[in-house]
Amino acid sequence: MEEKFKLDRQTIALRAAKEFQDGDSVNLGIGIPVLCANYIPAGREVLFQSENGILGFGEVTAPGEGDPDLLNASGQTVHPRPGMSCFGHAESFTMIRGGHLDVSVMGGFQVSEKGDLANYMVPERKIGVIGGAMDLAYGAKRKIILMNHVTKTGEPRILKKCTYPLTTLECVNLVITDIAVIEVTDKGMVLKEVAPGWTPEEVQSLTEPKLIVDPDCHEIELM
């Protein structure tokens, strides 16, 4: 049997960054998404937006270096870039909610067949963090969710219906997990790519809704 690989955090970010088209404005959420800033595909100019009011910033700096007044949503210092702009919260969320950003990349706990997203609260904890999640999941033209395919105990996170409190209804366009890339369409969830060593059947066995296997389904391409 072929050895199975799972994408780690950096590799998931690398795969997600491939989705960014030339000229896209992209919001990167807390966690794995902020890592995407380090993997812009060569030759593409991408504008990153962070909810704390910054657009067009560069890579994350080394820890302890950088300007404390140039932070991303995770509180990490980022490099400035020519063309960068700064603004307040009302403006930042006008940009987010108003549909002015092309892509929002967020972490997730659960995604449903219809593209409902649950990513602000684990029910056992009883307290969640809504933060900018509801606005970000609503506003951007395209929403990409990065998460592990199953929970720590092996339960599917891609479900017919989310069991965790919802962040936003029918908002997700693409899910990139440690073993698959899945597109949410009107017809259902389409399996586009699988991690090295995985078959579509194996991905399906860890996914609750029935996946439509894309005729062109192939191994995840990172470069």
């Binding site: 509180g75 990490q76 307040g88």
Partner: protein, 261 residues
């Protein structure tokens, strides 16, 4: 008489904030954009039963000191000293460790109203702009919609969100002049700009005070009319060396691990 909104000390700046007041606290969550010395002064004053409107409820100075911040107190100083009755916030707890607000919330000692971040900004802005509320599609079909009026506008469902009133807005800016014109720095505008003028009294903590006319009118972010008081951070800050807080060190390590790798 020349207008002069500059006050001499942080204690003087917060002297009329009474028990039971509703205060807006600017910033995002990271201490760089937080009115840190106003937080300390308000704590020294010993007020109780505050209702706060802010993005987070603070994470404690320990984490920020380890990251090298000189002015390291955030809202946590008010939380841990029992000065808050209710918080209206978008991210009241941390995703990676239990902050003091979460401990008090679990113990039933504080109330919480959690608001999506963009809705929080817009409810604050609505009050600043004299509006009776705003209709937003954010939160439809979620817990946020519960108990609220909704309306279909152009075929789409919106939630009515009401303005947030406050007695004081405590904000952080970079530079001010004696009229109260403000400019900010980098990503530290955050809720500071949004809250300026949204409360009955706006108090701005700044890094530097400049002469009237030194700020380029084209670059002023907060026009003076929104600001009532300006207080400047000292050049030298007498924070003495403290022992490393073990709990803060663990949170800091988690942050670095989660953030950068």
């Amino acid at each position: 008489m020349p207008i002069n909104k500059i006050v001499a000390s942080f204690d003087e700046a917060v002297a009329d904030i009474q028990d039971g007041a509703t205060i807006m606290v600017g910033g995002f969550g990271t201490v760089a954009s937080c009115p840190s010395l106003l937080m300390e002064a308000l704590d020294r004053k010993g007020v109780k039963n505050l209702t706060t409107i802010s993005n987070t409820t603070g994470f404690g100075s320990g984490v920020w000191k380890l990251m090298g911040y000189k002015f390291a107190e955030d809202m946590d100083i008010l939380v841990r000293n029992g000065r808050i009755k209710k918080s209206i916030a978008s991210a009241p707890v941390s995703a990676i460790f239990e902050n003091n607000f979460e401990k008090l919330l679990r113990a039933g000692k504080v109330e919480l109203e959690m608001v999506p971040q963009g809705t929080l900004a817009e409810r604050i802005r609505a009050n600043k702009a004299g509006l009776g509320g705003i209709y937003t599609p954010v939160g439809v079909g979620t817990v946020v919609e519960e108990g609220k009026e909704t309306k279909i506008i152009n075929g789409k469902k919106y939630i009515l969100e009401l303005p947030l009133e406050a007695d004081f807005a405590l904000i952080k800016a970079h530079k001010a002049d004696r009229w109260g014109n403000l400019v900010y720095r980098g990503s530290s505008r955050t809720f500071n700009e949004t809250m300026a003028g949204a409360a009955r009294v706006t108090i701005a903590e700044v890094d530097e005070i400049v002469e009237l006319g030194e700020l380029d009118p084209e670059e002023i972010v907060t026009p003076s009319v929104y600001v009532d008081r300006v207080v400047c951070r000292p050049k030298e800050y007498g924070g003495e060396e403290e022992e490393i807080d073990v709990e803060a060190k663990a949170s800091h390590d988690k942050f670095l691990k989660r953030g950068s790798a």
